[in-house]
């Protein structure tokens, strides 16, 4: 059934394939850029991935202005301001992000500061607050999970107010996303598993939560199918280029789905679990997803059931049985990933203590994702989900 009203946007050019990275100079030229600032992190440099990016510039007219490789896992406003200053000091004209969610969000926010001519990110918090066009921006993901290369959002920690600032604007979309499997082949098994489950959570919640629409449904289903067919392979065979490329595509598809249809209680609680107990986002999503799906059985059980065939479970003709099968498929994948990589399946295994559960539940209900969840998420409901996942 069509929603009464919906919006969908994904203006990012996608370049997918082995050695797709070789097109980076060409794409930058098309965008009128000659001197990009490259934003990345130490892990990317250590893994030799930055070298691949720099090699792509050989014999081109593009000369990177500077490389910033100090992006931390949860980037903050000080880092963003530093990157923006480097951009101006080195007369750069574009951004290239090489990394995961934190690197990409840092580049998005630095771009915002450069274009808006301010160092006060706070005033751009919220939705659609940017009116100026951003500098050319290309993303090369080195994880397959966040989908940030096709989202209009960025989250940055503000050191002054000790809060996370969220920005959403169609201006924040990168101009191009380059999916090259060589960029994820060095990712450790456990991180591959966690980021892949993050992508699965994006796709699943985009499909069954309140803002679903037929366009994002298509993206979500394509992502789920690719994840169930390839995630375990990337964990067991890290050098498998086909599986790595499939997971990069799955992450992108799921990103495009949830950037438009948003997510639900799993993300709401996962964000809070990250904030209170420092559990990595993908790990928390992986643990919570089956419980979040079950939480919504009463309101959208049949819709959840529609996902079962794309998770390897044949349709039974009984919508609620299909919903149960979909949850069983997610649990089975989680168990297989645990056996293959040590990915936790319970919050207690991820370092969360029982005493932290009330604090997590309290933070979760203030997360925007819970508004999009079909079932009402009160403190008591969030705590109940946490106890089950503990």
């Amino acid at each position: 059934m069509l929603p009464e009203y919906y919006e969908f946007i994904c203006p990012v050019k996608i370049l997918s394939g082995l050695k797709a990275l070789s097109n980076l100079p060409y794409e930058l030229t098309l965008l009128g850029a000659k001197r990009p600032l490259i934003v990345t992190d130490k892990g990317v440099v250590r893994a030799g991935l930055l070298k691949l990016v720099m090699e792509a510039f050989s014999e081109s007219d593009i000369e990177p202005g500077i490389v910033f490789d100090e992006t931390p896992p949860d980037s903050g406003s000080a880092v963003v301001n530093k990157v923006a200053k480097l951009f101006k000091d080195n007369k750069c004209d574009s951004f290239v992000a090489v990394g995961g969610g934190s690197v990409i969000d840092t580049a998005k926010c630095a771009n915002m500061i450069v274009v808006e001519g301010t160092n006060d990110l706070m005033k751009f918090q919220g939705v659609d607050r940017l009116e100026k066009d951003m500098k050319p921006f290309v993303v090369i993901p080195t994880t397959a999970g966040t989908g940030s290369e096709v989202t209009s959002a960025a989250v940055i920690y503000d050191e002054a107010s000790h809060t996370k600032m969220a920005f959403t604007s169609s201006k924040l979309f990168p101009k191009a996303a380059i999916l090259d499997p060589r960029m994820t082949m060095t990712m450790p098994a456990k991180i591959s598993a966690a980021t892949g489950m993050d992508a699965l959570t994006h796709a699943a919640e985009a499909y069954y939560c309140l803002a679903k629409n037929p366009v994002s449904d298509g993206f979500a289903i394509a992502a789920i199918r690719l994840i169930f067919e390839n995630l375990l392979t990337t964990v067991k065979e890290p050098k498998n280029k086909e599986a790595r490329l499939a997971m990069l595509n799955a992450s992108l598809l799921a990103g495009a789905a949830f950037s438009n249809s948003l997510v639900g209680v799993v993300h709401g609680i996962a964000h809070a679990t990250g904030g209170v107990a420092r559990v990595p986002h993908g790990v928390a999503n992986s643990i919570l997803l089956p419980f979040g799906m079950e939480n919504n059985f009463k309101k959208v059980g049949p819709i959840i059931g529609e996902l079962a065939p794309f998770m390897g479970m044949p349709p039974t003709g009984k919508p609620m049985k299909d919903a149960e099968n979909a949850v069983a498929a997610v649990r089975k994948l989680g168990k297989q990933l645990k056996d293959a990589s040590g990915l936790p399946t319970k919050l207690s295994e991820a370092g969360v203590t029982k005493e932290q559960l009330p604090e997590i539940a309290k933070a979760a209900i203030n997360d925007g994702s819970c508004t999009i969840n079909p079932e009402e998420i009160t403190y008591e409901v969030a705590l109940d989900i946490l106890k089950k996942a503990f």
Binding site: Y5, Q125, G126
Partner: protein
């Protein structure tokens, strides 16, 4: 034929909707203030708000708006318009505002359908939206609860009596608040 948009007169339908939304906002502002002084549930919700935060609720591009301020654990209705708000909850156009303000849709669905958005801290916007849902339970007739809330609230006898008091005094409150 080229036509300047500024010369396009609002339709009767638009003007009617603007009037209805303006009245609904006025009713919401006064009721918010009143309920915040009596409802334990709303007081508990406001307890977590930033001290002195000003929240405005309005309609783009030039529609009606109201502002509310947290003061000592309760809410004060500041009046019509945007009074230096920390957070704005905005409806993109009059049609998008009219549907939730006539109880045909919950505010959560307005956000889901991109009809409404937050300028400022999203967390503060979520808290305000949750508080607004508590106020709506006193403002709206029970018959529309199923359309507006994910889980329709069940009011106790004491709460029902207070709701009656809200209804009986709403006209006076609105007349007094209209001047603000």
């Amino acid at each position: 034929m080229k036509q300047k948009t500024s010369t396009v007169k609002p339709t009767l339908s638009y003007r009617l909707k603007k009037t209805v939304v303006g009245i609904a906002l006025l009713a919401l502002g006064g009721t918010f203030e009143k309920v915040s002084k009596h409802s334990a549930e709303l007081k508990e919700e406001i307890k977590d708000w930033r001290k002195g935060i000003v929240i405005s609720l309005g309609v783009l591009p030039k529609g009606p708006a109201i502002s509310l301020k947290e003061e000592n654990g309760t809410i004060r209705y500041l009046g019509r318009g945007y009074k230096n708000p920390d957070v704005k909850i905005l409806f993109k156009n009059m049609d998008s505002a009219f549907i939730p303000f006539t109880a045909q849709m919950g505010s959560h669905i307005a956000f889901v359908q991109h009809r409404a958005l937050v300028h400022g801290s999203v967390v503060d916007g979520i808290k305000a939206n949750r508080a607004m849902a508590i106020v709506q339970a006193y403002l709206l007739p029970g018959i529309v609860f199923g359309k507006v809330f994910k889980v329709p609230p069940k009011l106790t006898l004491k709460q029902k009596l207070f709701k009656l008091y809200v209804y009986l005094t709403m006209g006076i409150d609105m007349a007094l608040n209209a001047a603000k």
